[in-house]
């Protein structure tokens, strides 16, 4: 049975066609990792590679495109990429807050809450990057049923240092980045269904069979991503990812952390995808050996158990992969304080009790024994005005071994070191855009955080008073502020190799409570204000134009 489908898929791939034909290959992988707080992190990655393909040259945008033939690569997405000559595209739709301290770095780094879209495009004079960006947003919002069309110039910035090209830089044009995020975007089944339609086997065969919306969207954190990268030797890579962090302790009856594919997804893999070159389930084995995993992993390397589910392998599809801790009666949460799993822990808060102003404060803790050089990026829409002249940096060392006699000395040290704690400060204020709105303000800085210490940055902010028409329907809820991004920086200019073990850290989103006008009042305000002005104008008019007479008072 399996061999039959293998022959069919091979015959399909080798069928000649009249159009431009490229070899495509498709790989899928599910990575399951039990976390220390009883949760299970699952990452699906579906990788389709269009070999020897090149992104469309932007100067060919005026001419009709040559016909493209895809066998495995999704046509709808391919058409969008060709229509707007996109070199690199990243879209992520996430819900929840990724807990870096307990869960470590995510396998797919774009875990900012809400929708985040960024694209690198080549410059062209005929169809400008902004026009193509607007077309791309609307096309993707139609494709994924997400409100990406509202990521207009009010939310678009260009942070090239934090979001560099992941693949190769095409030599044909100067490239620019457009990045926008919408933190209040909700993710639901309408976004998953078109996502699955981009896969060759849809959700009928292979690992995508497991994606049960009722279970995935019940997870503590879930997110899906679409990443299109061009690599020079390989071609155009499309990676579709779906990450979900499940909580078996919450959903199981006995508060146990045992999990199985059936218990997590309520589905099982019936058949493998015939067109997949490689399909596997990788389980990251925990460090303590008090668990049992069934069935026995055929390949176990580097603390990973790999089950090869490809149709070409000899391995029969297991109905269920399960891990249980039979010696545990119920899961005991590890007692705090726990060491953070990432070298950097970040926290962002908005202080203030009034609706006019507040203080935005970021605290970055370096848990490792080495100094970390990180970049800090803040993209704030114009609902908050940053008062940059009130920017303050404080360092608060964890070792409080300073005695009273040395109290003056640390102050001096603090003063001297503030200059190199935060360097390379770049602030781009909101700039007026053609549609009359203001772009977000962008704040970038290079932070040098000494080992085992906490750096606190605080800046006063003012909350904006918006027009009546600019408020959303649920105006009393407030607005979501997209998370700040921390990214690694190299210490010297020639150390450009990516030797970091982390790529980006997102802070959680914040809710900004703006003062609202009374929405029932437009007519009343107009008539009251105009009445007052008219009364005064009328009185003055009468005074100035009437003539004075002397009249008799009648008794």
């Amino acid at each position: 049975m399996v061999r039959g489908s293998v022959w069919i898929s091979l015959a399909y791939l080798l069928t000649p066609s009249f159009c431009l034909h490229r070899l495509e290959n498709y790989k899928e992988d599910l990575r399951v990792k039990p976390l220390r707080d009883g949760r299970v992190s699952t990452t699906f990655s579906f990788l389709t590679v269009l070999e020897d393909a090149v992104p469309r040259h932007p100067t060919t945008l005026e001419l009709p495109d040559e016909p493209q033939h895809y066998a495995l690569f999704p046509l709808t997405l391919g058409q969008i990429l060709r229509e707007y000559a996109i070199t690199e595209l990243h879209l992520s739709l996430n819900a929840g807050k990724w807990n870096y301290d307990d869960w470590g770095h995510p396998p797919e780094v774009s875990v900012g809450t809400g929708a985040e879209l960024w694209a690198w495009m080549g410059v062209n004079e005929v169809m400008t990057i902004d026009e193509r960006w607007s077309g791309l947003r609307n096309a993707l919002s139609g494709l994924f049923c997400a409100s990406l069309g509202s990521l207009d110039s009010r939310r678009t910035t260009s942070p090239v240092v934090a979001f560099p090209l992941s693949g190769s830089t095409p030599p044909f044009a100067q490239h620019e980045l457009r990045h926008a995020s919408l933190a209040s975007e909700n993710v639901c089944t309408e976004n998953l269904t078109p996502f699955l339609k981009l896969l060759p086997c849809k959700s009928r065969a292979g690992l995508a069979e497991l994606l049960n919306p009722q279970k995935v969207f019940d997870a503590d954190w879930h997110g899906m991503g679409v990443h299109v990268i061009w690599k020079e030797g390989t071609g155009v890579e499309l990676k579709l990812t779906l990450q979900a962090v499940f909580n078996p302790v919450r959903t199981s009856t006995g508060k146990r952390r045992d999990w199985s594919l059936q218990s997590l997804f309520d589905r099982s893999i019936e058949q493998s995808c015939p067109v997949a070159n490689y399909s596997s389930v990788t389980v990251v084995l925990p460090e303590e050996k008090n668990y049992q995993i069934t069935p026995q992993p055929p390949v176990q390397v580097d603390g990973l158990a790999i089950y090869d589910l490809s149709s070409t392998s000899d391995f029969t599809i297991p109905t269920n992969i399960a891990m249980h801790w039979s010696n545990e009666h119920r899961f005991q949460y590890p007692m705090p304080p726990l060491p953070a799993l990432t070298p950097l822990s970040v926290k962002r808060t908005l202080h203030g009790t009034t609706q006019t102003r507040g203080v935005l404060s970021i605290s970055v803790t370096n848990n490792s024994p080495q100094e970390i050089l990180a970049g800090y990026l803040e993209m704030i829409p114009t609902l908050l005005t940053l008062w940059m002249h009130t920017l303050k940096v404080e360092i608060n060392s964890d070792t409080r071994s300073m005695t009273y006699s040395h109290k003056m000395l640390p102050l001096l040290i603090i003063v001297l070191r503030l200059g190199d704690l935060l360097s390379d400060l770049k602030y781009q204020p909101p700039s007026p855009q053609p549609n009359g709105h203001l772009s977000p303000s962008m704040l970038q800085a290079a932070l040098t955080i000494p080992p085992k210490s906490t750096l606190k940055i605080s800046v006063e902010v003012d909350k904006a008073f918006l027009k009546y028409t600019e408020h959303p329907p649920d105006a009393m809820r407030g607005w979501d502020l997209p998370g700040a991004v921390f990214f690694p920086l190299s210490k010297s200019a020639n150390d450009t190799s990516s030797s970091y073990n982390w790529e980006r850290i997102y802070t959680p989103t914040l809710l900004v409570d703006l003062p609202t006008p009374d929405f029932s009042m437009p007519y009343n305000v107009i008539i009251l204000s105009c009445t007052l002005m008219t009364l005064i104008f009328g009185s003055i008019f009468n005074l100035l134009t009437r003539k004075w007479v002397v009249v008799e008072i009648k008794e």
């Binding site: 009034t354 003012d462 609202t516 005074l543």
Partner: protein
């Protein structure tokens, strides 16, 4: 009876003391929306200076609306320390005093009746409407000082200084263009009070035109200087003058514009912006024509218009109007202003021609108490909503309007004088009362 004038130096010293001493709630005053508007706020001034120092265009962001001249002064010559505001207050009080002396015909260097002069100086330096914005380091203090300087120079008959001062005022706050015509009229006539005896305008219109050209010349030089200081761009025009016309920032203030344009739909916005701006301008000609015999009074009335209907109103604008009321004792009738040495134009009675001074005073008192209260209830405590503050701003509008209408009426009524005629009806032998009215 000729006491040495000590009130001005004492009050100036007290003001300097307030500027230097750290008062407990002073940093909160800077954030208050009654005392400073987005066009005059100290925080935005500091932000613009920081952006300027860090090679970012301050006018791009929509948060800085001050003039490039202020930017250049505070970034190169002197930082924005509170002493400058104290000096500006002192200059304003001195200018008001000189204006009084010019109007009364006294010599500018030697005052006579100290009570009136001390009251005038106190009316400027102790007016809470002017003192609190000055403590909040709002740049409206500079605008008021330049306005008073322009009026003082015009009253003393020094055209170039007056035109330079009014050019500065118009540059800092474009709504002050309302005061250009009265100042030109004042320069070609005298500041002495002619309210009681109105007559045709006797100045030379051609001289007025040449003075206008001179003022435009000064204004163009200032615009050129501002362009150079803003690195050759025109962004600052849209950000600083365009703010009064287009109202980009809808921060609440005691004026009438902000809530009106918050609740306005986008379709009607340009029309109503035009209406509100034209509304300010249409008062110039009628008031100047009606009060052509006393241009200083016309300037005073136009300051009243600005103090009620300006785009980004703060408390400093009605404050200037109320303080300047002290220059016109024939209108407000307070007996401490009269002396044996007054010129005969003043009527030495204790009566006032203001129709409803009590109403105006009480409305101002209500507004001054309601505005901060409702503001706190709305944005800080969340127990009220925007309508509370809007109602308080309407009371402020009524207070300003009442004062303006009152002053206009009194200025005209004084020309009619009292009706002493008591006619006898034929054959009845009864006395008939007469009164003055308008029809």
């Amino acid at each position: 009876m000729d006491r040495r004038p000590i009130v001005l130096p004492v009050l100036v010293c007290l003001r300097f003391l307030l500027a230097v001493l750290p008062l407990p709630g002073q940093h909160l005053l800077k954030h208050d929306h009654q005392l400073s508007s987005p066009l005059t706020s100290y925080l935005r001034l500091k932000e613009g200076l920081w952006l300027f120092d860090n090679d970012v265009d301050p006018y791009m962001g929509g948060s800085f609306h001050h003039s490039p001249l202020l930017l250049s002064i505070f970034s190169t010559i002197i930082p924005p320390i509170p002493i400058i505001w104290a000096v500006s207050d002192a200059v304003g009080a001195w200018a008001l005093l000189q204006l009084w002396r010019a109007r009364q015909g006294f010599s500018p260097y030697k005052g006579t009746k100290s009570t009136a002069e001390s009251l005038i100086v106190s009316a400027y330096l102790l007016n809470p409407y002017l003192l609190l914005p000055s403590l909040a380091l709002s740049t409206s203090t500079f605008e008021n000082a330049f306005t008073l300087l322009a009026l003082m120079f015009a009253a003393e008959g020094r055209p170039s200084s007056a035109l330079l001062a009014i050019a500065f005022t118009i540059h800092l706050s474009p709504s002050s263009i309302l005061l250009l015509l009265p100042i030109l009229m004042l320069l070609v006539t005298s500041p002495a009070s002619q309210l009681a005896s109105p007559r045709q305008f006797q100045g030379n219109l051609y001289r007025m035109a040449s003075l206008f050209v001179e003022c435009m010349l000064y204004w163009f030089v200032l615009v050129g200087a501002a362009c150079i200081m803003a690195d050759g761009g025109w962004n600052w025009v849209k950000a600083s003058w365009g703010a009064s016309l287009m109202l980009p920032d809808l921060t609440p203030n005691p004026g009438l514009w902000w809530y009106f344009f918050t609740e306005m739909f986008d379709h009607f916005r340009p029309f109503f912006l035009m209406v509100f701006s034209v509304h300010l301008v249409i008062y110039i000609l009628p008031i100047c024509i009606k009060f052509q015999h006393d241009p200083l009074y016309a300037a005073f009335l136009l300051i009243g218009v600005l103090g009620t209907f300006k785009a980004y109103l703060t408390l400093a604008d009605p404050g200037l109007f109320l303080s300047m009321m002290s220059l016109f004792p024939e209108v407000h009738g307070c007996k401490f202003f009269f002396s044996f040495f007054s010129p005969p134009a003043l009527t030495p009675t204790d009566s006032t021609d203001l129709r409803h001074p009590i109403v105006t005073t009480l409305l101002h008192l209500h507004a001054a108490l309601l505005l901060p209260l409702q503001h706190v209830l709305w944005v800080s405590e969340g127990r009220g909503n925007a309508n509370f503050y809007y109602a308080a701003s309407l009371v402020m509008g009524m207070a300003g309007g009442a004062g303006f209408v009152d002053a206009c009426f009194a200025g005209m009524r004084i020309a009619i004088g009292d009706v002493k005629v008591e006619g006898k009806a034929q054959g009845q032998g009864q006395e008939v009362q007469w009164e003055v009215a308008q029809e």
